[in-house]
Symmetry: C2
């Protein structure tokens, strides 16, 4: 670790806030002993919890606010609501350099709107995207966008590919990540204008990306590529479909083991193996959606996660900081801009 | 069963055709002893197989053709290729009333293009859609479109809802099926113009449909609604994502049971339960994608399925015929057209 890292936390975001936020920070502190925390929230609710966590209390400072972004606030509403919400204050802390990253389990749309407004997008990026890790047959991959951009054109998708590539290289440590565009088939003519246009540009070699080509839905779980790029509508549906399928499978498995006395007996022996299996696919392990394309690090935790899950979201933010994600994506974008054919001066 | 049913089979479609087609028909015959088959394919390949299946041979007639639609033929190419392919002849048999339905494991795009050209769409339907069953926490549901229509407007989605509703009532036997529109959230303002427009019309009560509202990706596995309606891009990605997740889970489970001698020992006792579990999620059980919106029954089998899977695709086609799917959807469309406010004559 290179020096201490400071994490701004929206203590009031999430179904079980501030409890999961503080307990999550305490767990994260175990893994990252150098971390410091700025907590933004209602003092009367946060302070008693903090008092119970002396290890965290030593490295955390509490900044009181009564204002909270509600789970059903519209993004525009939350943005206008003013500068005093716990979410806004936590993001402000990143913008003015007091914190290295921000984590919130609050309203996703509001968090994206405020983060975009306060932190701004990187030069060369039109729209930020939401990315996540997911487990595959080959390990872990990253997918974006997951819902920030419902409709995307080819240029948006190319920018998402750049962001996903920089993320995979910095945070996942993959030297030359493969990038795939999610589509309904692998042939060049498949899909809509946006994916075909993006593929043409990514194949054109104007970017440093190792472009695999089109991938399909089953390639997500197969881990065919390291980065899957798609629009926010499709990505959101795909991610939630995978979650629903995992739940269906888990329930079927539970029912199978309860099916007969013999199966229940067998379970006693397979218990350890089953625990490992559950751990591998534990959604809390993959908690933490990264907002990419901003001039700062912002991570969204699932609203209904627990302390363990929230700690993982904090871990993602720390990893992005320590692995220099922002520096890598800035360097890529600068290189691209330099490499682009400069406008020729008119002949004198 | 009401009288004999005749099924036209493209004996040459699929990775392991004609073997899986004939063996599949033989299995289907066991379940539907009244069925008769018209087989279209290369006599020198089909006849020897048929000779090995005396039960099937008794109720099947073989119609020779040398022409085959290739797996990588473009739909337009297959359509122009002429009237002599095994796929085209099988569809023709439905169009001219010699068969009640057609089943093929061949090229999906070609099958849809030829079926649409030969059978025509139903009055009131602009575009046919591809539908499938899938397992849920609550039993079984149906989803469409799965890839026939990459870009859809609100009117297309409303028509898909009508087709899915008629299918669920006739084939699944659900009295008042619930219909959901796949989206990225449940609030009215979520999504793109197409889903918002379709939702407004389905809420408006102009259709007989019991409209649940928007559903999300995880509602697919949860079985929140009986019918999930979406465009072909999203539906294709969602279905394949679910397949990929199931594979990932199955592989994780296999690895867990091989993890330790104790787990392997436990598996011996849980084996029967595991078999039931696998059977429940066996993709072959859900083989058979229905082409809805045509003036005839056409079912597409997965190209890489086996005889058991192909038999299930035949079973789907038979169910559609025996449960009067075409009559139900025709009646619905007629009722809608009558109910629609008639253009008012201009005042004299």
């Amino acid at each position: 670790m290179s020096g201490p890292i400071t994490i701004a936390l929206d203590a009031m975001g999430g179904d079980r806030a501030p409890d999961i936020v503080l307990r999550g920070a305490d767990i994260a502190l175990e893994r990252h002993p150098g971390a410091k925390f700025l907590l933004f929230g209602v003092e009367s609710k946060v302070a008693p919890l903090l008092a119970q966590l002396p290890r965290l209390a030593k490295v955390a400072s509490l900044h009181h606010t009564d204002e909270i972004v509600a789970g059903d606030d519209k993004p525009s509403q939350a943005l206008r609501a003013g500068r005093g919400t716990s979410m806004r204050l936590a993001i402000d802390a990143v913008a003015d350099g007091r914190a290295d990253c921000v984590v919130s389990a609050g309203n996703t749309g509001a968090l994206m709107a405020i983060a975009k407004f306060v932190l701004k997008t990187l030069p060369g990026i039109d729209r930020p995207a939401i990315a996540t890790f997911y487990p595959t047959l080959r390990g872990e991959s990253v997918m974006l966008d997951l819902g920030a951009n419902i409709e995307c054109d080819a240029e948006n998708l190319v920018q998402f590919a750049l962001m996903g590539d920089a993320f995979a290289r910095s945070v996942l440590g993959i030297v030359e990540p493969t990038v795939g565009l999610l589509n309904v088939g692998s042939e060049d003519l498949k899909g809509n204008d946006a994916v075909r246009g993006a593929a043409a540009r990514l194949r054109g070699g104007l970017t440093p990306i190792h472009f695999h080509g089109f991938v399909e839905g089953d390639d997500i779980g197969a881990g065919t590529v390291d980065v899957i790029v798609t629009d926010g509508f499709t990505g959101n549906v795909a991610l939630k479909t995978a979650e629903g399928t995992a739940k269906l499978f888990a329930e079927g498995l539970r029912a199978a083991f309860h099916h007969s006395p013999m199966a229940r007996f067998g379970y006693l022996f397979a218990r350890g193996a089953m625990r490992k299996f559950r751990e591998r696919f534990d959604p809390r392990r993959y908690n933490g959606a990264m907002f990419l394309g901003l001039r700062g690090i912002a991570v969204k935790s699932h609203g209904s996660t627990d302390a363990f899950g929230f700690a993982n979201a904090i871990g993602v933010a720390i990893d992005m900081k320590l692995n220099g994600f922002l520096e890598k994506i800035r360097a890529d974008l600068a290189r691209l801009n330099t490499a682009a054919p400069a406008p020729q001066p008119a002949a004198l």
